[in-house]
Symmetry: D2
Subunit: 170 residues, 4 copies
């Protein structure tokens, strides 16, 4: 049976506003996805992406990194590094190849991925309390009209549970 592919989206390592706690949450999310037999898909770089890959790979899971340009951009926990050559336009592939998106913290690239998920009618789980654009979306009105496609999670376990549940509803 085909495994479920969950995109984990969020800030790269250059975003100094991401807390150590948020990185641990991302790592926990990666581990839980792998424990349920899911595959972690991400942009393959540092920060949230690296944390999710670390958690998943240490739990024995597969991690796919859709890299902007070259394979050497991949973090150490990407098991399948894909050098797209598309620069930031590789974002759309993170979403296209996933069955659902879990987002933490994040800046414009994360907002870009969330908007692609909405366009493609993919479920989006917003991790509350992680700051960045994700918390703005949790507290603001922008996502309200799409309540059926969007969930807010309050823990790593809650996020993974909701992502898998929303995949099954589709």
């Amino acid at each position: 049976m085909m495994p479920v592919f969950i995109a984990v989206c969020g800030s790269d390592a250059e975003d100094a506003s991401v807390s150590a706690e948020t990185l641990l949450t991302a790592e926990h999310i990666g581990a839980l996805i792998a424990q349920r037999g899911g595959v972690v898909v991400c942009g393959g770089r540092g920060g949230i992406m690296e944390a999710a890959c670390k958690g998943a790979s240490q739990a024995g899971g597969l991690t796919i990194g859709l890299l902007p340009n070259n394979k050497d951009e991949a973090n150490a926990f990407v098991t399948v590094p894909l050098a797209t050559g598309l620069g930031m336009q590789r974002n759309v592939l993170v979403v296209s190849t996933a069955d659902a998106v879990i987002a933490l913290a994040g800046r414009w690239g994360t907002l870009n991925e969330i908007s692609y998920a909405m366009i493609q009618h993919k479920p989006v789980v917003l991790m509350a309390g992680t700051g960045g654009c994700v918390d703005e979306l949790v507290t603001g009105h922008l996502m309200k009209p799409a309540a059926a496609q969007v969930a807010v999670a309050t823990s790593a376990a809650d996020a993974v549970e909701k992502a898998f549940a929303l995949c099954q509803k589709q």
Copy 2:
């Protein structure tokens, strides 16, 4: 001298929440861009895009439509219809080919284009009072950290003035 390319982004004709007044504002924006020698770039379809193209072409300006798939998707006021074959992924080209973005109303595709503009460090002018994701961005906190790159406009003339001014600052 190279003309300024202004992207006009917003809902297509399927978004019933767009008011007649907002469409008139988009048409006025198109006309003002053309009168200043600018080129209107857009996704080439109906709604806000068609209104902006109508205003620009009736003022003698050039309008470029970056279409999802085929040339026959173009509205009647596109002078240069470009069939990208990229589907909704053509959004990034609307932004890449523009010097600044003016956004009205809009749903996920418009949010997607605004996020690309932020990633590419292109100026964004949000037209207040037009509803949709644009008004959520005007009233919410999401764009606040990028105040230097983003302006809020209260009339068509204000929007075009701010878009050209922000282009020159770059």
Copy 3:
């Protein structure tokens, strides 16, 4: 009525094997396309592309340059410079936006565009005697199975005549 868009594909200015005569042929082709009311589409850079744009723009025609990255890559005769941000992957857009392709000389990028034209079932006119990959295709067997979609031309006038004729057949 919608104008016909003809892509003119071939070597950029870095290909030292392109003869002055071939550049003149490309310029003549551009002029003839414009005189028939057609639009020249190309990659927007030097060499064959610049020659075709020069001919077309001097004949009062519109020339569209689909540039790899930035507008300042455009040759001086591009009237609509489109900065795609796609690098060499913008090749596909040259083909997608055209109704037919005329190819002269050329290296791997030109072969790439010709292969896209074949995939998209767009007519291809190969300009004989211009060297490069185009002459290899004229004299070799690779294009033989697609005779209905491909024509060989022996002069600029012949190339433009055949490109317009093949567009109408579609």
Copy 4:
């Protein structure tokens, strides 16, 4: 250590000219890539792609399918199905994500992938005697100027040996 990614390119199942022997060669190539610890990258569909994935997955290797649109387009032997949403424009990703390309038989899509490999300076191994565009390239002059980047193979073992050797030279 990062595994070597080898793209196997060639006709899909709709190309009736592909012989059973050529399919067996593709399967053998897939198996040999996997036995050397390499990853098979391909377009994920039938024909040559399926044969290569079959060989690799039965030898315990990883196979990545970069699919035009949806995951259900994948052949049964793709272990990592990636739904790109790019249609035929996903070809470039097959090449971008690979360290070298082995091509068998093939039509315009295969020629497209080979031209991308040449543009990206990736090694190309042409499998002689498999028909299609690959044999035209083996017997014609088109690839001659790029002799250092291109090899002709006469057996599956020869192809895989040359692909790995050319990767190491880079």
